[in-house]
Point group: C2
Chain length 400, copies 2
Amino acid sequence: MSAHQALLGGVTAAKGFTAAGVHSGIKRSRKPDLALVLADRPSAAAAVFTINRVQAAPVLISKQRVRQGIARAVLLNSGCANCLTGPKGMQDARAISRATAQALHLPESQLLLASTGIIGRRLPVPRLVRAVPHLVASLSQAHHRHAAQAILTTDLRSKEAAVELTVGGRRVRIGGMAKGSGMIAPSMATMLCVVTTDAQVAPALLARLLRQATERTFNRISVDGDMSTNDCVFVLANGASGASVTGAAAKAFGAALEAVCDRLARMIVEDGEGVARTMALEVRGARTARDAQLAARQVAFSPLVKTMLAGADPNPGRLAAAVGASPAVFDPDKLEIRISGQTVVAQGTALKIGKAVTRTLLARPHVEVVIDLHAGAGRGWMFTGDLTVEYIKINAGYAT
Amino acid sequence: MSAHQALLGGVTAAKGFTAAGVHSGIKRSRKPDLALVLADRPSAAAAVFTINRVQAAPVLISKQRVRQGIARAVLLNSGCANCLTGPKGMQDARAISRATAQALHLPESQLLLASTGIIGRRLPVPRLVRAVPHLVASLSQAHHRHAAQAILTTDLRSKEAAVELTVGGRRVRIGGMAKGSGMIAPSMATMLCVVTTDAQVAPALLARLLRQATERTFNRISVDGDMSTNDCVFVLANGASGASVTGAAAKAFGAALEAVCDRLARMIVEDGEGVARTMALEVRGARTARDAQLAARQVAFSPLVKTMLAGADPNPGRLAAAVGASPAVFDPDKLEIRISGQTVVAQGTALKIGKAVTRTLLARPHVEVVIDLHAGAGRGWMFTGDLTVEYIKINAGYAT
């Protein structure tokens, strides 16, 4: 039994956090495109960022600010990535940062920034600055959903999760929101995500727990294998619960933080561009955990595996070809593959199974694939979706 | 000026080679599915194979046989990969090899094998054995096209190329055929390909020149980034021209061999599953040639770049995001990108260019992208195609 339990709510589920989401005019549609999350006091802050060499202006700014380990607020916009915008893009981000910090009466260094949307376009700074007073006036614990909606791009659904646990006899909450639908790949910070908690956590510990949670959740999902220039995961801990996370409590708190990230990560795949079916992919019996993870990634990235899933097309050989293309060391004559409990490959040989059976297994909304390399005790996993005609349609006309 | 010139013809363009292609009954359609290429005498032989850990039975057998450096014939089938078929798949391959070698009066060790098609299905051995006499009886210099057709799977067009050059005052020819449409990625032997030449070349030199040519051609194309279990590139040199390739002639001969492989490689992309437009991608100014090639691969693999091409959607930020995701070291503030001669990113900043202009550039049947990292003198390239709705449709129902 886990030491935490799921709650309704999102980025304001923890005590002392408010949020807002408004339409500022970046998006030509009337959809919300500017979000703000505010802590009631200076909070411990940590973040994980994209490892792309090309990074958006807000990423460069937030990276520097989060180093001090303290923040009060996160400002996020959708509709424009403010990336590939050169020195002017940095000026734009700073202008909006200044206006927001002034309206909130904060030192600018305590405001973190994130942007998502089309790369290579400038932000409409005057419109954003004009929207700030309304944004700040809208801040409320009840408006977590508005904030979650204002960071969406091609997402169809907003993504929120929250849990509660007990630390030293006190109730602690962790809540978060995320966006992400395309350009999703592991081995980076992934998409935009803000997590808040009313626990008191030292910044260094918070950073370590966030890195661990990200490594096991956001870094193990894949929609299309592309890597964004704008990914950020932020966590703010304001200590409003009065519970301090130290020593033995760190493990339970870390597990609860991972649970929030895991739920948001799965929501990203389920709402992935064009995704109709999801696949949980586990590689067992690898020589090492690293080998297992490399193999799981290779399979999760394979367009042939993902189109097989899209068509519920009985072709388990594609799973074998993908795992064989990975750097994982194994004896192909021992390879074993199961699809939702049904063994389809044993001792490196495809079993004769009726197409109708395999098709039924693959046609479920969620498919579980287990690949056993029989080479050791290493285990890894990925969570991914199918590759459909819809994905192509969305991405062949995104900028238009 | 190159020292060789293009010819019509294919795998029998060189003196002393015959070929045949027939329908044996592997494919349910009446299309040809069994091909044979025969040299008139024991020939120097070399090959490059897939580096997938899961390898088809014919790959395992051919790998062993080609080690002796001498072969007379190559037998290839489409419609069934004979992979993931265990010890029985090895028995199947050996039975067909035995029947063919007997019909040709060859030692079995001089017959190379290759298969392509669905993974995990057994070959219909009795049908193949029954087809061998007809296949052997059909061998002719005129039947190169039949052979090229009999190795196709989802390919729409057969792929043949040939060149002529002069070595030591004698006319030498090199010709080949290839198949490949999906499951095409670099850094491996790629697809099925047979090249023949009437030059006399020592097996070790032939192997080195084939590896070089493969590295610069088949290993620099990508359709979907998946890696096959069955890829083989074979070359046979029978010496029938009387010209011996040694010393200084090796360079010109290697260039001519590369030209044949290059033409076949481009044909594979042009006929790639669902490909409507092709993209030649060059990365310049990298710190090293290795960095340049890693960057070119990352861009060529990106589903977002490939769907941008499919939709002629003006979104050059995706090129920057993909190159930034590669391991290549560069200063993002110096990044420069040109699409078919038009600069779209300079000094790390997207230029304001009308959408109509970018759309027109991207809508051409063939698009040239140059990415300059301004970090050194390293150069790399890839040849790829767009990712279309048609690709998904083909691969969501391949086994059905």
